[in-house]
């Protein structure tokens, strides 16, 4: 209020009021009455006006940041595809490895069975206790063992090469996952910038990072067991806990 006032309303204000009413400016007249009743309102309106403009500008700038919309419409769907690729490749690798190992098991069992079968006669031979008839049988058995072993070891060798080659998933999935990590970092930065623009401190939010759990507290593999005291670190911890419960 620029003019010194004795009462609640100045002559100047009264004149303006009459003028507004006479010229049919009802809205302005109402505003003036409100101002006379509570002089603070006009400052408050100005402040709200300023904030509204700021909010408007922030929202406009936010829409202009095309990187964020690219992230949402292109990069994140792409990341989902990449992660699905990781699942597919690791599953393939696991199955290829197990295919090879499952074919090796019976071969090894067969060889070890043949070795077991010739062993008693062989021991007799080494102790000079073998009879001619048994010696002849032993020769036939050893001949068959040598044939089997020769053939099967090269088979095993090629299966082991398959196991070796199946491990190439580590390199490929590692590269893919690294790209997804970069994306996650970029999204994190964008979100923090946005929060900062709206006046929310990112530090407060970072502090409350309690892992999300599902029904029955399911959380999946714990990746930071050494930093937590609500989880076990290994099987020994499990066994200790169970035995403390009387298991």
């Amino acid at each position: 209020m620029s003019m010194a006032m004795v009462g609640r309303v100045s002559l100047e204000q009264a004149k303006s009021l009459v003028e507004f009413l006479e010229t049919d400016q009802q809205e302005k007249a109402d505003e003036l009455i409100a101002e006379i009743q509570n002089p603070i309102n006009s400052e408050l309106f100005a402040e709200i006006g300023k904030l509204t403009r700021q909010l408007h500008d922030s929202l406009t700038n936010f829409q202009l940041d095309s990187r964020l919309s690219d992230l949402a419409t292109a990069d994140i769907p792409d990341a989902k595809e990449r992660l699905n690729y990781v699942i597919t490749r690791t599953e393939e690798a696991a199955n290829k490895t197990m295919d090879a190992v499952e074919s090796i098991f019976p071969v090894v069992d067969k060889i070890s069975e043949q070795v077991r079968a010739v062993n008693p006669s062989w021991t007799k031979l080494m102790n000079n206790e073998i009879e001619l008839k048994e010696f002849k049988t032993l020769c036939v058995d050893i001949d068959s063992l040598l044939v089997t072993t020769g053939k099967e070891t090269s088979h095993i060798h090629s299966l082991m090469t398959d196991v070796l080659m199946a491990q190439d998933f580590q390199d490929l999935t590692g590269q893919v996952i690294r790209k997804v990590i970069d994306l996650v970092r970029e999204v994190e930065e964008s979100l923090i910038n946005m929060l900062t623009a709206f006046g929310i401190s990112a530090e407060n939010i970072r502090g409350n990072s309690i892992p999300k759990v599902g029904e029955n507290l399911v959380e999946g593999p714990i990746v930071n067991a050494e930093d937590r005291d609500d989880v076990v670190e290994d099987q020994d911890d499990v066994d200790d806990l169970l035995s403390s419960l009387g298991f």
């Binding site: 696991a94 197990m98 499952e102 507290l217 999946g220 609500d230 989880v231 099987q235 499990v238 169970l242």
Partner: protein, 135 residues
């Protein structure tokens, strides 16, 4: 329980392996086969496993915890609540590692708890322990 007179494990016992990942079922099956078990069947979650258990005379269940549909802990509770299944020993093999969850499983009547990643040696030790107790 199919335990032979000497107390040794009956390798013909019928085992159900429950896990939503086929690769993990395959690993467990291979390890069990290596220990001499021959009669092994598979299910991909609790809600598939339960009717199989109710329909067939299974002697042993190895289950994961975190699966879509019915979780392993709920399968365990369902087994203990069904008088025709309650006697079946249940071994959990899971990545779930909260102390609270291990206590939860113990209270629900689990016979063994193996935390992933695990070894063939751990599986053998736990199996021996489970059947030694029951034998």
């Amino acid at each position: 329980m199919n335990v032979s007179p000497e107390g040794a494990l009956d390798k013909n016992m019928k085992v159900l392996v429950v896990d939503d990942f086929s690769t993990m079922r395959r690993i467990v099956k291979n390890l069990l086969r290596d220990l001499g078990f021959t009669n092994i069947q598979e299910a991909d979650d609790g809600s598939t496993a339960l009717p199989m258990l109710q329909g067939g005379d299974f002697d042993f269940v190895v289950t994961d915890w975190n699966m879509p549909g019915m979780q392993g802990i709920d399968l365990l509770k369902a087994i203990r609540a069904d008088s025709s299944l309650a006697h079946i020993p249940v071994l959990l093999i899971t990545a779930e590692a909260k102390k609270e969850q291990i206590v939860m499983a113990a209270q629900a009547g689990v016979n063994g708890y193996i935390v992933k990643p695990f070894t063939a040696g751990t599986l053998k030790t736990k199996l021996d322990k489970i059947f030694e107790r029951l034998g």
